[in-house]
């Protein structure tokens, strides 16, 4: 790394030395409990709130354990560049992290991979033809990263879109599963993610029972895939209900 111009001294976080990787659990050790005491197939409690940012057309805040995310939606508004005519609307997504989101202080830069994944997960659910020639901007900021960041961002973004009144076929709920040895753990925290052997993330529209995005890493056999997908689909269904009730609450509160 080239030193930055200026006289910024180099710093390091006072971590207790390089950790030797502690085996979180041994093979077939089913007595092992997750660091936060959850069961393998138990999600963290989800908290959603819409209307977190006043200056945006729509916004939502989501908190899953230590994962805290805020998403703003702007638009539909004039497309940024002199873009070509388009008879469907455009979706523009951006995900960034704060410098203090991760345990080691980061640069707080844009996360290109997540931005494009967010785009792919949402575009199938939005009725783009309802706002031709214009753009909807979905901007996400991860305030604190506590694992399963991308699924939380996606779910939160779909809620923010709903808050902005963008026409959608359905809400999008997202859940990920980590494969640790032979075990599948749902909604992994940061520590579990760093030791995982494989992962699967599924985003779906719960009421339509359609998958909008699916990614795998690691090595999976067909029965494992079936099991993991079913796990995610069930969790998405539950998550969808939580999200829906959050919207309903907001709507009834505004009516009063």
């Amino acid at each position: 790394m080239a030193a930055k111009p200026g006289s910024v001294p180099t710093t390091y976080p006072p971590n207790p030395g390089p950790k030797t990787r502690p085996p979180i659990f041994k093979d077939n050790d089913l007595d092992w409990v997750r660091p936060d005491g959850r069961g393998f197939h138990q999600c963290r409690p989800a908290f959603f709130r819409t209307g977190a940012v006043n200056s945006a057309s729509g916004s939502a805040y989501a908190e899953f354990g230590n994962t805290k995310v805020i998403v703003s939606v702007f638009g539909p508004r004039e497309s940024k560049k002199a873009m070509m005519y388009s008879d469907t609307g455009r979706l523009n997504c951006n995900v960034s992290y704060t410098t203090f989101a991760t345990p080691v202080r980061g640069q707080g830069s844009d996360h290109k991979e997540f931005s494009s994944m967010l785009h792919k997960s949402l575009e199938g659910a939005i009725m783009l033809e309802t706002f031709p020639k214009t753009t909807v901007d979905v901007f996400a900021l991860v305030l604190e990263s506590g694992g399963s960041d991308l699924p939380v961002v996606i779910s939160c973004a779909s809620l923010a879109l709903a808050d902005a009144g963008i026409m959608m076929y359905d809400l999008v709920a997202a859940v990920s599963v980590s494969c640790l040895g032979k075990n599948l753990v749902i909604d992994p925290i940061l520590e579990e993610e760093s030791y995982q052997d494989g992962s699967l993330m599924l985003t779906c529209m719960p009421s339509r029972y359609e998958v909008t995005q699916l990614t795998f890493t690691g090595e999976w056999s067909t029965p494992d895939i079936n099991e993991a997908m079913q796990l995610c689909l069930d969790a998405c269904d539950k998550l969808g209900k939580v999200m829906r009730s959050c919207l309903k609450e907001a709507a009834s509160a505004s009516q009063e």
Binding site: V53, R77, L141
Partner: protein, 302 residues
């Protein structure tokens, strides 16, 4: 004088929202003449202010401050650095202010907001020159190691008075700061003294006494708008865009002037107006101190 009359006539016919958008200045002036603002505040009153400490678990100190709907999240991360030759027993504070695209419709990804570097500079000037933090307290081993406090402030929602809210969140984050207990290892590096090691390790903590920073003379600020003879405290984004003359006054706990910032603007500030602004700030500083004290005592109860 046909035009103002025409507008006047129009104002009775068009709806309030439309009038507000078409003739924003007249809309405001009508309110001001009644000594009230569109959000029902008197001119000198600031918006509701809240502080929540410890909003970010992964940081050493953090706070969320809200003034009206303007929201700022400040967090401090402590890292270790080798102090410079000139000041071997002083630490350092690096302050950065960010306006991510979520906070306002005018910020787009890849192109940082124009205001962000300016507020960032203003903040670091104010915090460093106010003498709130004694940099010597951030020293660990003289000449060898000292703390570098990275203070990052994120604007989550921008609705005017950015600097005031950012400064408040920064001050609150420092008051919440918990410096981790560390020791010097064999390689001359500073490492965390984690709890499980405490028993078996013979290393000694190098900062047993210095786990909190003492905040002497805390700076508080208030931004006012000067418009004609009116002084509007704590403006919203809409007010800032319509009436462009802003004065930001920063006073510390002993009512010393830390900064009086008036970057241009069409209205000239006369001594009497400045005195009024300072008086408003004095009053506001007391309010903010109370809110901050309440937030801190609220934390201690938990």
């Amino acid at each position: 004088m046909g035009l103002p009359n025409a507008i006047g006539d129009l104002s009775t016919e068009v709806e309030v929202e439309a009038f507000r958008r078409l003739f924003p200045l007249r809309f405001y002036e009508k309110h001001l003449s009644e000594s009230i603002r569109p959000d029902a505040r008197p001119l000198g009153r600031a918006r509701d202010t809240t502080i929540a400490l410890g909003a970010v678990a992964s940081a050493n100190g953090s706070a969320l401050a809200k003034i009206g709907s303007t929201t700022m999240l400040a967090a401090i991360k402590m890292e270790v650095m080798t102090p410079s030759m000139e000041t071997p027993d002083e630490g350092c504070i690096a302050i950065d202010f960010h306006m991510p695209p979520i906070c306002s419709p005018i910020v787009r990804p890849g192109r940082p907001a124009e205001a962000a570097p300016v507020v960032s500079k203003q903040l670091s000037d104010t915090i460093l020159s106010s003498g709130m933090i004694n940099l010597k307290e951030l020293s660990l081993v003289s000449g060898k190691a000292a703390w570098m406090a990275y203070l990052d402030i994120y604007c989550l929602d921008a609705d005017g008075a950015l600097f005031d809210t950012a400064l408040l969140s920064a001050v609150a984050a420092f008051s919440h700061l918990d410096i981790p207990e560390v020791s010097l290892n064999d390689d001359g590096k500073i490492v965390l003294l984690s709890e499980e090691q405490e028993g078996m390790s013979d290393r000694e903590s190098v900062n047993k006494e210095k786990r909190k920073v003492t905040l002497s003379s805390v700076p508080f600020s208030l931004t006012c708008i000067l418009h004609k003879n009116y002084i509007l405290a704590d403006p919203t984004a809409e007010e800032e865009s319509i009436m462009e003359t802003l004065v930001t006054v920063v006073l510390d706990s002993s009512s010393q002037l830390v900064s009086l910032y008036k970057p241009g603007g069409p209205v000239l500030a006369y001594t009497s107006a400045i005195q009024d602004c300072i008086a408003l700030t004095r009053q506001r500083a007391k309010e903010l101190q109370k809110i901050l004290d309440e937030a801190i005592s609220g934390m201690e109860v938990d």
